[in-house]
């Protein structure tokens, strides 16, 4: 049942995106030719790209191909869309995994400390920083990071000069600043969520009971508080992971990072439909999977969900 709904969600998103792109002014032919386009040149390119076919038949033929794993060729570069998006996906996954590994660890620890030490100095500092992190747009964070860590103190490159074909080794030195910018944004939300959950749980009767029983703080935190505080936070983490993999347009674009976000913005500008559709499928699919995993994670952590009958 859940799988059927997931497939429906992904399909629906492609329909919506297809319709949205169709309703944009201009088309790929005029976009790639730019202001230089004479009407004849636009007509020629339109014919070459098959843009004169009706929208519905183009969508259905794309859908037919997609069902067999053939997502078509890019209208702009003429390369296979699967290859192009695949290459960008690898780059984005590198950025996302570093961001998640560092960001989530930091955020969980800070959120927990903050929640457990509610209204004390560490909490005030952490909460204030998290609020600042949430309120400052990521492009400002990114620009400030560039200003400090690549212009004022030249530690890291400000942009990625290698293109889409860059190897992991080439990207590795440049991945840290975009990752840091994303960590600021991502961890702010996770910290806030974690803090709230921890406070909720810490005030619950069973935790009070555990305290009164004389359990050690470590035992209370890891045995009682964490398992119950994690599930709501897991949802926030899952959404953030999906956001990271679906392409972080602004941050990737500022750092010229050759990932899904940069590819997406380029494809939208040229209205390169096959590329946009595959990114949509990928993005929708990631959201669905991440949600599923978050629910599963919550299930594993929550004894009441794990043993529904005995818990009553």
């Amino acid at each position: 049942m859940r799988a059927a709904w997931s497939i429906f969600t992904v399909l629906l998103s492609t329909v919506l995106v297809f319709t949205a792109i169709q309703s944009l002014p201009g088309d790929t032919a005029s976009r790639i030719l730019g202001q230089n386009a004479t009407p004849e040149a636009v007509a020629t390119v339109r014919l070459q790209l098959g843009l004169d076919e009706p929208a519905l038949s183009r969508f259905l033929s794309w859908l037919g191909g997609a069902a067999h794993g053939d997502f078509g060729t890019s209208l702009v570069s003429g390369r296979s869309v699967g290859e192009e998006v695949g290459g960008a996906l690898v780059n984005t996954l590198l950025l996302a995994s570093i961001t998640i590994a560092i960001g989530v660890t930091i955020a969980l620890v800070l959120g927990m400390v903050s929640g457990l030490m509610r209204d004390k100095k560490p909490d005030v500092i952490i909460s204030t920083l998290a609020l600042i992190g949430m309120s400052i747009p990521e492009f400002v964070v990114a620009t400030l990071l560039v200003l400090v860590f690549s212009i004022y103190i030249p530690l890291f490159p400000a942009v990625v000069l290698a293109g889409q074909e860059a190897t992991i080794a080439e990207l590795l030195p440049s991945v840290w600043l975009p990752a840091a910018a994303l960590i600021c944004v991502l961890s702010a939300y996770v910290i806030r969520m974690m803090r709230t959950s921890v406070i909720d749980v810490a005030e619950s009767e069973y935790v009070r009971t555990a305290v009164l029983k004389g359990n050690s703080t470590a035992r209370i935190v890891f045995k009682h508080v964490l398992p119950s505080a994690m599930p709501p936070t897991l949802n926030v983490i899952a959404m953030n992971i999906a956001w990271l993999i679906g392409g972080v347009v602004v941050v990737e674009s500022i750092f010229n990072y050759p990932g899904i976000g940069t590819l997406m913005i380029r494809s939208v500008q040229t209205q390169d439909l096959p590329t946009i559709l595959l990114i949509t499928v990928l993005s929708a699919f990631t959201f669905v999977i991440c949600n599923l995993l978050a629910d599963l994670g919550a299930f594993m952590l929550n004894p009441r969900l794990r043993y529904p009958r005995s818990a009553v």
């Binding site: 030719l33 730019g34 202001q35 230089n36 004479t38 570069s77 030249p154 000069l161 500008q269």
Partner: protein
């Protein structure tokens, strides 16, 4: 390209402005914090002087799209590579004179119908084969081929027949034109006219084999690339050993790369004033202005109900104070045009224009039975000067009872939905076109780039007469007559030519850019 190589560069301009502003505040504070405060920098002419031999120049450029190519004839060409890789028959000097390149000399018949070019015999292609007249014949036919969809085809095809280009000897090319054109040679200086090897249409897109000062080392569309010095170059040897190109779509990203010393020069980027002050505050980089590099017309669409009447167009031309508009929009980095679209540096420039006269403007409106005029003027964040220009015009035209409403359109679709569609808008072109191309391409009846839909048979006939006149003094008079006809007809509303603000490393010396031309020969790194 028709003046907007930046076509695909849709930045987030509001963000740029915000961040540019933020940086402008922060950087001086940070720099003054460290004791090594740089000399007060100002925007000025590029640094000149002796360059060290060798070095690798790193250029960041906005990629056109993933379909960009090294075919010079194509509208999708990656144009920063062209001047490094290729040569043309002739090229235009910064003062607008024709100078030899692959052609040693050229000559036209008394009726301006037959043109003969004598080619150099000592030139080789990057792959080692020899350059001959057949390559020239092939290149021009390739430009005229409809399948190429070259922007230059529209310029040449009215009088060049691809089948009437012959190569009587290995190093002579003869063009038999279909109608006289005494300015023909200047039209071969366009950057779409770089010569490619015969038969290379299918491979030139990525091979980049030319006769220019540099050879292609690598190229990927919308990605990085590099060229290295061509030791066999027939002309003056370049100072540099190599040039590396990288593609950065985001304007702020390009500026960051410059400030972080990852690149030495950012191409096709007209800095807004906030960003320019950020760059100036850096000890590594500086801002050079390229005099009158951009032409800012405000096209009044003649085919619209609003501007079909010449008196209304003239009323607008007289209605604004150019001093004020130029000062507000460009902070003084411009030259007032008095509505003449021809840049003052052009050899055939006519020093004439419609001056500021709000009373005349009002009386012209009155003649049309109007006491005031309400119009919308469209603008976008496509270029940093477009919106300031619209706002300055709005303020200045009030005295002439002309009320402009500034409409901000999306930069993404500005040139598909607004340009040549809305009656009044702001736009820009690169200067550096030969005058015959400028007047014919942008103002002649029916030309595909005629952004005002201007149509005047007398103007067209004057241009034809100029083309058919071999005597240079007489031809100059005719091109000047054409300018006067156009201006008097309210054919061009042009407040100013603005300087382009280019960010480059303070180490770079002898940077020079003219229209679409980079000087890749003399540019290098200074001694200190």
């Amino acid at each position: 390209m028709a003046g907007l190589p930046d076509t695909q560069n849709f930045g987030f301009s509001r963000r740029q402005m915000l961040v540019g502003g933020a940086l402008a505040m922060f950087v001086p504070a940070l720099l003054s914090g460290c004791a090594t405060a740089a000399d007060p920098n100002t925007i000025g002419a590029p640094r000149e002087g002796a360059a060290k031999a060798g070095g690798t120049l790193r250029i960041a450029r906005p990629p056109a799209s993933a379909s960009e190519t090294l075919d010079p004839a194509s509208s999708l060409c990656a144009y920063e590579y062209l001047g490094a890789l290729y040569s043309r028959l002739v090229s235009l000097s910064p003062t607008g004179e024709l100078v030899p390149d692959l052609a040693e000399s050229w000559d036209q018949s008394a009726d301006a119908m037959t043109w003969t070019f004598n080619l150099r015999s000592d030139v080789g292609w990057h792959d080692g084969s020899s350059f001959t007249a057949n390559d020239v014949v092939y290149t021009i036919q390739h430009i005229l081929d409809e399948a190429t969809a070259s922007p230059q085809a529209g310029v040449l095809s009215p009088f060049v027949d691809g089948n009437a280009i012959t190569a009587p000897t290995m190093h002579t090319v003869v063009f038999q034109l279909t109608s006289p054109n005494a300015e023909f040679a200047s039209l071969l200086a366009g950057y779409n006219c770089y010569i490619i090897p015969a038969g290379s249409a299918g491979t030139i897109t990525t091979s980049g084999i030319g006769t220019g000062p540099f050879k292609l080392a690598s190229f990927s569309p919308a990605g990085p690339g590099a060229v290295v010095r061509n030791e066999a170059y027939f002309g003056q040897a370049p100072v540099l050993d190599a040039i590396e190109f990288s593609s950065i779509a985001d304007t702020q990203g390009r500026v960051n790369a410059l400030l972080a010393d990852q690149v030495d020069f950012i191409a096709q980027t007209n800095l807004d004033f906030a960003t320019a002050s950020t760059v100036l505050a850096s000890s590594l980089a500086t801002v050079s202005s390229v005099k009158n590099a951009q032409w800012y017309p405000v096209p009044m669409l003649n085919s619209s109900a609003e501007f079909s009447e010449p008196d209304i167009r003239r009323a607008l031309c007289h209605a604004y104070d150019p001093e004020l508009v130029a000062k507000l929009a460009t902070q003084g980095n411009s030259t007032i045009a008095h509505n003449n679209p021809v840049p003052p540096s052009e050899a055939y420039y006519l020093d004439y224009g419609l001056e500021y006269d709000p009373d005349k403007s009002k009386s012209l409106l009155k003649g049309q039975g109007l006491s005031s005029l309400d119009l919308s003027i469209y603008t976008s964040t496509y270029d940093p000067l477009l919106t300031p220009t619209a706002l300055a015009l709005q303020g200045s035209m009030k005295d002439a009872n002309i009320n402009l409403t500034v409409e901000n359109a999306s930069a993404d679709s500005y040139y598909t939905d607004v340009w040549m569609k809305k009656p009044l808008m702001t736009t820009y072109w690169y200067t550096g076109r030969p005058i015959d191309q400028l007047l014919n391409q942008i103002f002649r009846s029916g030309s595909s780039y005629n952004e005002t839909a201007y149509s005047n048979p007398v103007f067209d006939q004057t241009l034809d007469a100029a083309r058919a006149t071999v005597d240079q003094a007489q031809r100059k008079t005719l091109y000047q007559d054409a300018q006067k006809i156009l201006i008097d007809d309210g054919g061009s509303l042009t407040p100013f030519f603005a300087d382009r603000l280019t960010g480059l490393s303070s180490k770079v010396t002898n940077y020079s850019e003219n229209g679409f031309e980079f000087d890749y020969i003399n540019i290098g790194f200074g001694e200190s």
